[in-house]
Symmetry: C3
Subunit: 467 residues, 3 copies
Amino acid sequence: MERPRHQGMAKNTYMRWRLPLVCLLWEVAMIVLFGVFVRFSPEADAHWEEEKREMNLTSDIENDFYFRYPSFQDVHVMIFVGFGFLMTFLKRYGFGAVGFNFLLAAFGIQWALLMQGWFHSFKSGKILIGVENLINADFCVGSVCIAFGAILGKTSPIQLLVMTLFQVTLFAVNEYILLNLLHVKDAGGSMTIHTFGAYFGLTVTRILYRPNLEQCKDKQGSVYHSDLFAMIGTLYLWMYWPSFNSAISDHGDAQHRAAINTYCSLAACVLTTMAFSSMLQKKGKLDMVHIQNATLAGGVAVGTSAEMMLTPYGSLIVGFICGIVSTVGYVYLTPFLESRLHIQDTCGIHNLHAMPGLIGGIVGAITAAAATEDVYGKEGFIKAFDFTGEYQTRTPSVQGGFQAAGIVVSLLIAFAGGALVGAILKLPVWGDAAAENCFEDDIYWEVPEDEESEAYHMHNPDKPASP
Amino acid sequence: MERPRHQGMAKNTYMRWRLPLVCLLWEVAMIVLFGVFVRFSPEADAHWEEEKREMNLTSDIENDFYFRYPSFQDVHVMIFVGFGFLMTFLKRYGFGAVGFNFLLAAFGIQWALLMQGWFHSFKSGKILIGVENLINADFCVGSVCIAFGAILGKTSPIQLLVMTLFQVTLFAVNEYILLNLLHVKDAGGSMTIHTFGAYFGLTVTRILYRPNLEQCKDKQGSVYHSDLFAMIGTLYLWMYWPSFNSAISDHGDAQHRAAINTYCSLAACVLTTMAFSSMLQKKGKLDMVHIQNATLAGGVAVGTSAEMMLTPYGSLIVGFICGIVSTVGYVYLTPFLESRLHIQDTCGIHNLHAMPGLIGGIVGAITAAAATEDVYGKEGFIKAFDFTGEYQTRTPSVQGGFQAAGIVVSLLIAFAGGALVGAILKLPVWGDAAAENCFEDDIYWEVPEDEESEAYHMHNPDKPASP
Amino acid sequence: MERPRHQGMAKNTYMRWRLPLVCLLWEVAMIVLFGVFVRFSPEADAHWEEEKREMNLTSDIENDFYFRYPSFQDVHVMIFVGFGFLMTFLKRYGFGAVGFNFLLAAFGIQWALLMQGWFHSFKSGKILIGVENLINADFCVGSVCIAFGAILGKTSPIQLLVMTLFQVTLFAVNEYILLNLLHVKDAGGSMTIHTFGAYFGLTVTRILYRPNLEQCKDKQGSVYHSDLFAMIGTLYLWMYWPSFNSAISDHGDAQHRAAINTYCSLAACVLTTMAFSSMLQKKGKLDMVHIQNATLAGGVAVGTSAEMMLTPYGSLIVGFICGIVSTVGYVYLTPFLESRLHIQDTCGIHNLHAMPGLIGGIVGAITAAAATEDVYGKEGFIKAFDFTGEYQTRTPSVQGGFQAAGIVVSLLIAFAGGALVGAILKLPVWGDAAAENCFEDDIYWEVPEDEESEAYHMHNPDKPASP
């Protein structure tokens, strides 16, 4: 059971008291805060019968549950299986990928229910939650999963929990500014989730820069079956992305349209990813890293505009471009960012979320600015952009301007927040591993004996197989 | 192709005539019984147009299919992928885990449609089935999958089919007593599925006690990738549990509320599981066994109360406690049960289903007893507990008492039934393997050559790699 | 990085310019065609509010999105994860299985939206698409995935794209003849998807016959974990098949009934598959190939009749038969087809799709011919078979005749189309691999170093482990 080769590690990664303490204290805090603040929304409350009468609903099927629950479950799968398994591509970090993602998401959704609740569902001292809140909490945590991709393999579970605490908070603030103050549309979160999450994570990883990470370059690769595990993540993200982008759109045509646009964008993205993956490699072979990641960029990039009248061919164009941008990013930009800017981005979130997220914000701004009553219909136009109340007189071009402002705000909060959180995570109390132990599960996990000795043998062919 | 190391096995595991005979005869019996008894419910029958008029429904969307089908599919995934893959953690029993689970569940749902149909959907000589029956059949089979967890790796497929036949029958009886005679609420099955299934399985494995199982202790472990396969099962169970607990609740607020409560309980459970997994291990490392199993205990434990006004913070508290109880169970109780009580529980269902199931029953009883018209609203109160007809005058505290009685009945039937079925399975005609061949796929499966020889090599480092 | 053992390969598999060119040009063509032709259906268009008024709908829940989206997502999972992972069973072709399936399906759905759109959703010069079109596009691509199964491991990605282009076109023509000209019912596609797709693929693989394929017999097998990956595909196909067969059925009872019938048929099929898998093997052991494939035949075989009043026991009978037929096919027919008819069918689609598809067409014809107003009700009868307008006077027996004609048409178009496409694919410009390099990922994929050298070592035990 002794693993002498780790005895020499420089850092204290002993989690026995620190991790339990953080988990238990924070969960107790959640219970107290939920006890004080969180109650059921009218559609989930046993008083629903009375509510139904008041709202003049004739059938239980009008409950928001039936409009959104299937999409919620798809989003839920994306967060836990999608992101979790996408990150299992590393040969010896599968437990950490799927396990830590599980941990941070499970904590994050609770904290997000509170943070987003205070901003958006707060009524007479209580946060009233329904299925839409669950989706939004999953969305918020999605941005943390994205940031996790940048620092995958290099942080302790406590650091991840600390990051989640801060990032969820900042996410909620940013989201409030965009959706409520700027009155921006962003149903699929190109700005709030992807741009914010990715630049936040990239800033954090920049600050946590490890100069000696080269030594474990071999552990940053995949093995055959770990690439197949990662494809499970990829496909679930790809297949359910139409649900993601339509999950919180308005009932009816908006949800319907968002799903179609996303479906189209993603389909186009696969073809350009394959094309460039082959083209940019000397031998013309396809690279699993691109297929696992860049094929998803099309979903990111219609996050803002999918519920608008982007049209199917517009979606194809967006997907076409993003497959190229993302694949080129993996080949040229990621090495550049690492060597020149010291941004060590394990999963390449800059290519999958940051750039496509920015493109998504811009496409959203243009699509909004180009909206006309002719295309949307008189009622559809007002409904699509919620041009009611104090926004009654806002024009599409003004809306486009605000959408663009939303991108800038998201970037600013991501950079500032990432810098702050990166600095906090740099404190030497969180139990992160030394560079030579990065990307290795057995720092934080009980790893089964046999296979590991086999793996050890595989990577050290000069050593004998027998322990 | 010859595997000399198995030639010396003491028992006859030859399945060639026995397994086909059982499968074919039983399936013929199913066809005959379905032919005599099973027809479509009015909502699935081509006479639906007339039915719609009669029930004054204005739209096809009022068909129960649209209320429940998405939840049904989630439950279906839990039974076949969730349980199937959760049990693939063993290094050489993946085929048996996922394959036998497939077999017993496919048989079980047919038999459950009949058994539950006779008790609950029998009208003028016919069982009328709709989507709710499919869900209930999956639920019933869920209890068999749970029991399978206790005896995983130690039984022949015929034994599993025999167990399924009896367990489904007893499940239906127990369910009838609880739901119809005691008028107990148990939508997510803390009592009917988990408590019953787990104590039934534990009794069976106790009776099938194998004194020499120690010899294959090494095969009871996992390898790196088998742990990742198991995480697929875990995550699908975890993600879809809100659908499980809400699948057969009343339309509208009850389904909505059950999903939210379950979501909350499961989230809390992950944090306490991680905390105690780290705390109870000397080196503070996380154990995959706990993450794969104890994180799910929160879903089990709100099975009865999720559709009640448990409230989100109540759910967090339940999840908090169950993550702890379950993890502690894995560390201390499972070894104790094995060494002292001779209960060999392969998957630790005592920790994941038995104890959390009991807690779930108790929480349900308390929540029911604490119900007030103030909290539920006048109509909501009656609807939630179905206090109509002969139960019009039942009070919450009386309901709480009946709920508690439901736990006791489930336990009694589980123990008695498990003892009976265990005795039947002990008969030397079912083709189970000798102790030294337990937890090994190649007793009942054609296993691909290469990998196995590799595995063989791995476990026997003193042998050369070449065959 | 050099792999000398491939230097001697006879064929030019260099994809660097060919694959990107095809992908990019075709995607540009898609964008142009979508730009000219494709718009949103009224239910996905922002003018929906006006549409709703016109159609007298009182609620957004009446949008077809809510009737079909959950089923769409299930079908989507079947196409990408189901078929993709089902084909990962080969020990060294997992990337190609899941990756090429991804590529061809992503292209195919776009082309199918156009082709099917021109035939079925063309209004005043535009194709109007909604969720039902997405499902139909997935269905159409399903037939390509089936054909892919026959040629798995033996073709280049360009060949697959070329095949997809032609097969989707022919699918749409065949579908138009069946559904519109013959007025045939085939909601789950026994004829249009399975019979057509399978015989098309079998014809293609016959024409692409490779006499020397024996040399890589060892690579046509599985390894332990690749069989588990394949089971992910199997289970998702199996679980979601009820959604597949009900996805485009009429709202209400038809969808409900189709799901129940499919559920029953699949359950029965598992038992007879297990029975015959064990019975036909000398040692009585179960064979993963059968479990992975034949268990699904029951879903194929109720594809036409599931939405009819097949009844649950009728479904059990169909599933019972098909499990047997399919398993027997794997044991006896596949070797015969290969040795005598030179049909090299990698995945055995003849057993899983061709024969069960034919059975499904026949069962559909019989069920239609046997329909009576008594069983369906007066309105239900007309609605089920769409006996309106010019078909007002069609009788069940005539309908049965047309159903049977549909089988014949599907077969003819499959054979003729397959011959044509096979001949095209035989041109020496598509970059397919030599026989000795079939079933190997590293022709078209960057494959991670370590694992491969390990695998290499495994398969060549006389070579030392160190590279």
